[in-house]
Symmetry: C2
Subunit: 358 residues, 2 copies
Amino acid sequence: MEALQLSRGAVGALRIGSKDRTDLSSYTPAKASPGSNVLGVVKRVRCSSSGSGSGVQTVRATERRGAVIDGKSIAGQIRKEIAAEVANLKESFGKVPGLAVVLVGTRKDSETYVRSKKKACEEVGFASFGVTLPEDSTQEDVLNHVKQFNDDPAVHGILVQLPLPKHINEEAVLGAVSYEKDVDGFHPINVGTLCMQGRKPLFVSCTPRGCIELLVRSGVQMKGKRAVVIGRSNIVGTPAAQLLQRQNATVTVVHSATPNPAEIVREADIVIAAVGKAEMVRGDWLKPGAVVIDVGINAVDDPSTKKGYRLVGDVNYAEASEVASMITPVPGGVGPMTIAMLLSNTLDAAKRSFGVES
Amino acid sequence: MEALQLSRGAVGALRIGSKDRTDLSSYTPAKASPGSNVLGVVKRVRCSSSGSGSGVQTVRATERRGAVIDGKSIAGQIRKEIAAEVANLKESFGKVPGLAVVLVGTRKDSETYVRSKKKACEEVGFASFGVTLPEDSTQEDVLNHVKQFNDDPAVHGILVQLPLPKHINEEAVLGAVSYEKDVDGFHPINVGTLCMQGRKPLFVSCTPRGCIELLVRSGVQMKGKRAVVIGRSNIVGTPAAQLLQRQNATVTVVHSATPNPAEIVREADIVIAAVGKAEMVRGDWLKPGAVVIDVGINAVDDPSTKKGYRLVGDVNYAEASEVASMITPVPGGVGPMTIAMLLSNTLDAAKRSFGVES
């Protein structure tokens, strides 16, 4: 393994996706024997600003850290690419992609999510549609609105904000969204075709699609690598495993009934953690040089902060970044990719509707 | 590990599913360290008849072999159970389950398969429908017949015999089968709901369902075990992996882009081989005590046989049976289960149509 060579004056961390993005197109996770402590080809160096008064930072080469996969920056780049495509479509067809959001009730978190989705739509030039229905709406009310959006040619994507109030059957409502407008990728037809060789789903669930996009844009080769997905949810874990397998990784799914998750995660070149348990994945769960995508966003009490809590992932970042070759932070990793992929799915739907190849 | 204790006079092999079926309800694959040669709790003893003239067989205790999972016998049992249910349905409703088979062209192997499916239907008391269309039928012809069967209330299951002639779009024809009559489990909605927690597919593809049924009926606990599926086909590998995960196994799918299949298979307590390569899985690929389900049916040249070939699985049976705690033979293992599951799927469809709970 090559030694870390950095002269005094090297500044900051490598941030993949940032302006200083490093060319990682030939990146391959390091093949290291378990227990060794060799990192991959991309390394992040923790810098201390206490070295001198000149702004030149002291590099402590013993503190090797994984490169940060900067989801915020990559998502920003994708949104720029989408905005440019929207401008082209508008010029060519006089039409823009349209996204409709159905919100039932007044949950504060749902309102916040919906607002940020609408804002994101507007920023890239999409038409934004939406309906907010009262908490006590009947299932039929909700279904009627879904059907209206199904029939509206200006709407290319429909999103039903979850969770729905308990008296409404989520399965029935999600199943009513036309699979051709199912930008969340939740329809069984889109789930099914994702799992089928030789078939291509119209949409893939946004968060797992975002995970793979981060890996692709960070130059991580998946073919022939061992990947472990922690969590088997419909929204993240299961489709993430399918997507990794489509990239020709050999995939294992670890879940609540797995008695020895650490042992299995340690076999992985690529780890996607989507389990919703704060900092469950410790540094010693990781094979040195592994690439880590952390989907979790968990609030943990922290009286030292203004809000009284802070957000952490499913991975213990401090420990993992000492072992991984690349890692996503929380927040600022997978999170921003979800909305970017929602926009991308909606753009794809519009292009299909306009007869433009994706 | 307990020593093998068998007195002179012990005869024959344990055959799970046969009349001598052993109670394996508490069976758990042996936890053995790699490289050791300890078998699980169920053992088969190879007997030699050369011991004496009295018919008492000499047991050579050094030759430990995995118990045979007798698919033929288990499938026979299932068919008996189905026949009994059909008789009940006929008495209660005056109706029986109906299976329709669509065959296009004159491929000898397809004709043989269709004949045996019809025969199996008749044996359990199903109504058997079918149409044989000429090789040069148009896609529209085929679709029309599928639609007729979709609309026929006496038909509860529809099976399109594959492969179709090349000028016919398989995806279009399979997609035209109502997912409520899709007894092959190939419709994207059934594939999708199989992958979704909290959802239940109407049908699961027959061969992988047969694999799991063999494991269940042999008392193999899957929860918390490591399972490896070799092969990721739509028809076997992918649904088999989903089914194992539904049983709470931790599943890894090995495929053509996996560089080190032997190493990964060796981690498994349960192996399902569905790759279509004669005897690819060698004895030293297996963890001692593993349970092996061999889906492969491959013809290999054998001038010593009348036909000039013999059928072998994806697993080298002679080697594997020395290491595995249980193993399916080829033929007589998974093969007979496929038609049994087709009958079971059709029975389920009929019961749903009659309003009877499965």
